[in-house]
């Protein structure tokens, strides 16, 4: 009897780890599948002009020393972009349109030829440099209405960032008119 007892006490005490490892692996697989890493974000600087306040979107007189891009939504999937042109009866000349598929939704959309927009800004920047006025560089005024999707506004901002244009102003409608239109 005493011999048997001694044998039992000499047996190595082992923890049964198998079930714990199973659970741990289940957890690991769950977190591996469920974890979504946040996408890295970038930024487009758009410092608001100091002391200039809010100005009407349509100035009475076209100023040729700045570059102006007028974005308008024409239906759900069409966006137009125009630039000032004094020879045109409307005062503006549109960039040519192109049809493309949206990268995210794959829906067809009619958008301005962004290469032309970039070319216009490159030309304006070059001319502005020759005149050499001011120290902030070419002022670019982006005039968009509330129906223009934000992705197009950011596209224009991106083109400005590409060309190292930092003097960007956003032409907004008059505040009172804007809020009244929005049902305030």
């Amino acid at each position: 009897m005493s011999r048997k007892k001694k044998q039992n006490s000499e047996e190595i005490q082992e923890l049964q780890l198998t079930s714990m490892i199973d659970v741990v692996f289940q957890l690991l697989v769950f977190f591996l599948c469920a974890t979504k890493f946040p996408d890295p974000e970038a930024l487009l600087k758009s410092w608001l002009p100091r002391n200039q306040g809010l100005r009407a979107s349509q100035p009475t007189q076209l100023e040729l020393e700045d570059a102006r891009l007028v974005l308008r939504a024409d239906g759900k999937d069409k966006i137009t972009c125009q630039r000032p042109d004094l020879q045109s009866p409307t005062g503006f000349r549109p960039f040519t349109q192109m049809v493309t598929n949206d990268l995210f939704t794959n829906q067809k959309e009619s958008i301005p030829n962004w290469n032309q927009v970039e070319g216009y800004l490159v030309g304006a920047k070059k001319n502005f440099s020759e005149v050499g006025e001011g120290t902030k560089g070419l002022p670019v005024i982006i005039d968009f209405d509330k129906h223009v999707k934000f992705k197009y506004v950011s596209k224009v901002l991106d083109i400005c960032a590409k060309l190292n244009i930092t003097n960007i102003q956003i032409a907004a409608p008059e505040l009172k008119k804007f809020t009244e239109e929005m049902g305030g």
């Binding site: 780890l17 714990m20 490892i21 741990v24 692996f25 957890l27 690991l28 977190f31 591996l32 469920a34 974890t35 979504k36 890493f37 946040p38 996408d39 890295p40 974000e41 970038a42 930024l43 487009l44 600087k45 758009s46 410092w47 608001l48 002009p49 100091r50 002391n51 306040g53 809010l54 939504a73 990268l103 995210f104 939704t105 968009f144 509330k146 129906h147 223009v148 999707k149 934000f150 992705k151 506004v153 950011s154 596209k155 901002l157 991106d158 083109i159 960032a161 590409k162 956003i170 907004a172 505040l175 804007f178 809020t179 009244e180 929005m182 049902g183 305030g184």
Partner: protein, 164 residues
């Protein structure tokens, strides 16, 4: 002699699982923390692509001096994750300005005299995370509100490349 030969029988092999369990637990802790961080992020929005945007310099910006406003796909403006600014039109604008003033006042040290004259300005940096698919109406509201506080450092959050 026979007793000796029995003792030389090969013992049952045991795999030492301890290091594997250690590593597995480390992995679990890592994923638990990362998942939590992701959940605590701001309102999920599909940011517009802008390959030429600057990388957000996280190490340079003091979290206390920045404020993030999100405009989600349902066209709602929110601070943080679920703090939605209610209202439409003039009411929405007033609520936005009120909230921005509170945020700016909380960071008292960021107020400075405008070097170009005209009162004091807040040096608070506002990041607008606007969904690419919504119209720019609410974005304009945010710009109006920042202008009224006045906060002039407004950034537009984008993605540098398409991540699927």
């Amino acid at each position: 002699m026979a007793h000796k030969s029995i003792s030389h029988e090969p013992e049952e092999g045991h795999v030492n699982l301890t290091p594997m369990i250690d590593v597995t637990f480390q992995l679990i802790i890592f994923f638990m923390l990362v998942s939590e961080l992701t959940n605590m992020a701001f309102v999920p929005v599909t940011l517009p692509l802008a390959p030429h945007a600057q990388k957000k310099p996280q190490e340079q910006i003091d979290p206390n001096s920045e404020l993030i406003i999100s405009i989600d796909e349902l066209d709602r403006i929110s601070f943080g994750r679920a703090d939605i600014i209610e209202g439409e039109g003039q009411e929405l604008l007033e609520n936005l300005v009120k909230r921005l003033r509170i945020e700016a006042e909380l960071r008292d040290e960021l107020w400075s005299d405008n070097p170009e004259g005209g009162g004091r300005v807040s040096e608070l940096q506002v990041f607008i995370r606007c969904d690419r698919g919504v119209t720019s109406e609410k974005f304009l509201y945010c710009m109006f509100a920042c202008n009224q506080v006045p906060i002039y450092k407004v950034n537009v959050a984008t993605k540098k490349k398409l991540m699927k």
